[in-house]
Assembly symmetry: C2
Homo-oligomer: 657 residues x 2
């Protein structure tokens, strides 16, 4: 954490000073109580996608954001709980990774239970595996109540310079886009009509009161029944589910020995249960198979009660017993896959002539089963992808054309997810093949386990790879950094910070602050030498008129405020003299021109911890790795490829005035 | 973290439900606004010692605690900043270790600068060392503004069932002990008179208003000029300092290359500077030598300004330069050592006949230089020592005689500290010997560095060793656990939790919750076997009338609520079947009788991480290790030494009704 740059300030460094606005002196910008007539971004829905976006935008006090939600207040219980490794990396960028690590259940191992070979009426453990492969991420796969994830985002929003709070108890009843204004840039082409639906709670006006708000951009994070999606005329295409499931968070007493391990249980004839241990050491989530539905049958019509769910679970886990003492939350649902063709308001054939102004994210544009724990994760990563793009366009740093990449990148991710989920759910719900009894749909238990393991990287969220676009380069120079794949998330590795010898993770320098990163890995020579590649690159970045830093950093802003350059050197940290390194890597910042000492890193020399080896960096030549504000690798370039670097940013960045 | 034991509860699990009291229904016990007439414990002073004690006592809603402070509100800036490894262990027990780790500066290395051999007018780096030796603690040595440490304790208090808040703007003007009542136990023998000194701020009454409060126990944590100490007639004996120092927290621009490393700088003729980098990446603390004072001269008489301090620092660090941009806080002081003979109200010759009711802690009973970063640390550890003892006596678990051990244990620690500080300060302030110029007082730079390194364990706080007493056994069986020394803090080591395969630190099970711990390390045999040492011990603890758990656990309370038993097994966690282990190690707890699965641990089999090897546990026979609520090892015993275990607790515990 860096703070006190512009002077010592007492108190919690996570709490920003509120930014006042000219028209409401003495008050921070986004005090609740009354929706303004115009905003830059209106977010609809306080689920994971909406809050991740709001928390991202709240750090920019120059962007006027509002988030509305039809529920009367924050979520307290239930819904999603899986947090994939990749999502933990993202949480860390927002600043609350440690809180989640402390409070969550850690999924360390997964066990598989199947009908016993000797007595198929009983289940027996067939396999026990490590849940996440070593080295996949510096973070574990964890489980935490979605409501707590919301709380952490709400804290980030509250502590931000904008002091952003949701406006609850408001339902979208209308959305229109003014076609004449929508490519104008300076205008507010989207008009949204909101209805107050719980006046007593919101204390803001009579129930049914209508508010109208004009926005530059609207993002629908309003779930599977999204009003925003409907207003765009988009549809969730897909299969209606015909497999019913129940889910329960319970406090229970059981003699099932793996109740504190994630356990996949297939009984011979009673169906399946997935056991997900929960935070706090006592609670456990059960996903319980409730059998196939008929064509057009809805699970809600079956009047399933918690007694049904408990009885089903008890039958499946025989010979073990389970006595449920308290049900914290429960639900029934059918598995249904659904996907929108596009995640914005621009038809495919109008992309060249029209810029997007309305977006949809999360369940509003993709739905699937909760079984692989992907929903909340993919939804938040949707808005992590969109947030920095909106911010960079609104702040005049990127051309609005980058906004097309949101739908292009995330719709492809969602498509993969739907395909994965279809296969995974099918295998999950199939009866296990057992010697005494099998039918055509049955799945070999070993086959399911193999599928589960093969897709561990996928479910961890680390396989997402964006295709080449104006913000994601072709892999021409990928061989210079074989472990930092263009299009994929920057895979962190341990390093030692040169100035203070602190062991840190290089990837943790990539905060959710809208900045681009340029990691310069040094070649074989002494980086302090007068002709070293690092020094030459620093000279280019610092002095050349073609330097992206010179072109895009606003006058008066810190030189790392748009593109943050960090160097990774090959030498041990005690073998380099700080004072001999290029001054560019100790930039002077803030009102006092203080030196930022956190730009240079050296390898951790403990066994198997050297970042150059872990990430396949070309030790002879070094390289540049360009990382997007959402932590995805955008480019890998030779250390000397100044023109290519300039050309890459020129694709989409806006020169400063 | 364990929570939801007695039912699911939404929200932050660190925030306890407030406990209501009979005489003020609807209100939590310790709402601010008006001091009650009687309390169990009155703490005087909101420094580190007072707050560590208040935070410890606040978790017990059955203890009525108040803490008063003469300042009008919480500390915002300045004073101490060093947090030793041992203190980090303690912070983790309170529950805020992660917050400190995230926010603090980490002291990774220390450098030593001395007059250059070629040109003694300039300083040059003579050595660079690792600050803390590997394996000394699982936590680093860190630096953080004392005000933030206060904030974390205040949060713990606020979130506790007592919702304890300090009563500010109150000065102690009288303290008396009723001799007739003081051994009564049920009475409130101490009367304290408080004067309101900042009525406007406190909003509680007219300035000068007097409040009288009766307490069972009073703890003076009110600093070097302690009113409580004065009321006891105790004196800080020691040397008046004749060495003046200045201290400044600055934002500065410098070309001194080690400004982000802890640096000890001795110039040839201009004195010494100690550089302590600070949290946030920009601020730095400077301790600046200001020369010897004359007999009876006070540093305050010298009218030293920040300009003097800056000029002195600039002379000392030549040839490097430093331009100070902002001074966040500064002070001047003379080094003085002082120590009280006893830390309570009972004269040495009356210990057999009288019980203590008033205690002093922190600077109230020991003062010394801040140079070795010990003050805040030792003060908080004073009250960590006292807190559980007060709680256990007030809750009827321990005989009041244990309260004598506070002064006995902590006065000895303070005595060692004063002796260390005298030597350390002398060496620090001495001129370095240089070839061209030396006098009798000069210290060889290599000698100072060697002294610094030799005392690394001492300054880390991990060498503290309490002498045998009724709560700390003789080391008869120490050979069974050579690395867990009786009297010293329980040195944590990594383990794998059996039920959920989570890698954790065994020592982190020792929370600041007033409970004793009994770690049972298994011998060579299968712990699940019918005659294993672990199983036999479990039978004794569970069933025998002599079992300390049966004797001291109140009726209806969880069986681990007084003595928390945890087993450490030798087998790899996948080689043990949970369901075959003694049921005693999966205790049923809370209103639902839920199973606590966090009592069994296995070694971490990564290289050099096996707890049995790291802590020298006898692998053939195993052993028991008894740990006090303040994390110090109280006893090491053979696994079969039931009678000795019973006898140890019988020394001081109170049988349940």
């Amino acid at each position: 954490m860096q703070f006190h740059l512009n002077g010592f300030r007492a108190g919690d460094p996570d709490v920003s000073e509120a930014v006042e606005v000219a028209d409401r002196p003495g008050q921070p910008r986004q005090q609740p109580g009354g929706i303004p007539e115009e905003v830059d971004v209106l977010i609809v829905g306080c689920g994971p996608a909406g809050l991740a976006l709001a928390a991202q935008l709240a750090v920019f006090p120059d962007i006027k954001t509002r988030i509305v939600e039809q529920k009367p207040g924050p979520l307290l219980v239930g819904q999603a709980d899986g947090v994939a490794c990749r999502t933990m990396e993202m949480f860390h960028a927002y600043g609350f990774g440690e809180r989640v690590l402390r409070e969550a259940y850690w999924v360390n191992e997964t066990t598989f239970w199947n009908p016993s070979e000797t007595n198929p009426q009983k289940i027996s453990r067939s396999r026990r595996i490590q849940d996440t492969e070593d080295g996949l991420s510096e973070f574990p796969h964890v489980i935490l109540n979605q409501a707590r994830v919301h709380d952490f985002f709400l804290d980030i929003m509250r502590q931000s310079p904008s002091q952003l709070e949701p406006d609850y108890a408001r339902r979208v009843v209308g959305l229109s886009i003014d076609a004449s204004e929508r490519n104008g840039g300076a205008s507010h082409p989207v008009t949204v009509t909101l209805e107050l639906i719980d006046a007593e709670h919101a204390d803001l006006g009579p129930e049914g009161q209508i508010e109208t708000i004009k926005a530059r951009y609207v993002v629908g994070c309003d779930g599977a029944r999204s009003s925003v999606r409907r207003a765009l005329g988009r549809v969730l295409h897909g299969d209606s589910g015909n497999q019913a499931w129940g889910v329960m968070d319970v406090l229970a007493v059981t003699n099932f020995p793996d109740v504190r391990l994630k356990s996949v249980i297939h009984s011979a004839h009673e169906g399946s249960v997935l056991i997900i241990p929960r935070e706090g050491g006592y609670m456990v989530r059960l996903y319980i198979e409730l059998g196939k539905l008929n064509e057009n049958e809805r699970v809600s019509s079956k009047n399933i009660t918690t007694d049904h769910l408990i009885a089903a679970a008890q039958r499946i886990i025989r010979p073990y017993t389970m006595e449920v003492k308290e049900i914290a939350w429960w639900s029934v649902y059918e598995i249904a896959q659904g996907l929108c063709d596009k995640f914005d308001d621009v038809p495919v054939d109008e992309e060249a002539s029209r810029l997007p102004h309305v977006f949809i994210a999360g369940d509003a544009c993709h739905t699937h089963s909760p079984k692989a724990g992907q929903g909340m994760n993919v939804s938040m990563r949707d808005s992590f992808n969109l947030g920095w793009k909106l911010a960079s366009v609104l702040r005049g740093r990127s051309a609005p054309v980058v906004l097309h990449t949101y739908s292009a990148e995330r719709q492809a991710v969602a498509k993969e997810l739907i395909d994965f989920d279809r296969e995974f759910s099918k295998m999950f719900s199939a009866s296990p093949t057992i010697s005494s009894d099998s039918d055509g749909d049955a799945v070999d238990p070993a086959g399911f386990q193999k599928y589960f393991m093969q897709h561990g990287r996928y479910t961890a969220g680390t396989l997402t790879r964006y295709r080449p676009s104006l913000i994601s380069a072709d892999p021409t120079h990928q061989h210079l950094a074989r472990g930092l794949i263009i299009g994929m998330r920057f895979h962190s590795a341990p390093v030692i910070r040169l100035a203070d010898a602190k062991p840190v993770h290089l990837g943790h320098t990539v905060k959710a602050d809208g900045r681009w990163r340029l990691f310069a890995f040094s070649g074989a020579e002494d980086p302090a030498g007068s002709s070293s590649g690092i020094r030459a690159l620093c000279s280019f970045l610092s002095d050349s008129a073609d330097s992206p830093l010179r072109q895009y950093t606003p006058p008066g802003a810190d030189f790392d405020s748009v593109i943050d350059v960090r160097a990774v050197l090959q030498q041990a940290h005690r073998d380099l003299a700080l004072e001999t390194m290029p001054a560019f890597l100790m930039p002077r910042k803030g009102r006092y021109g203080l030196c930022d000492y956190e730009k240079m890193f050296c390898p951790d020399l403990k066994p198997d911890q050297n970042i150059f080896d872990m990430r396949g960096i070309d030790r002879d030549n070094g390289c540049m790795v360009v990382v997007r504000p959402d932590q995805h690798v955008a480019h890998v370039l030779p250390l000397t490829a100044y023109a290519e670097l300039t050309a890459f940013f020129a694709n989409f960045m806006t020169q400063r005035d």
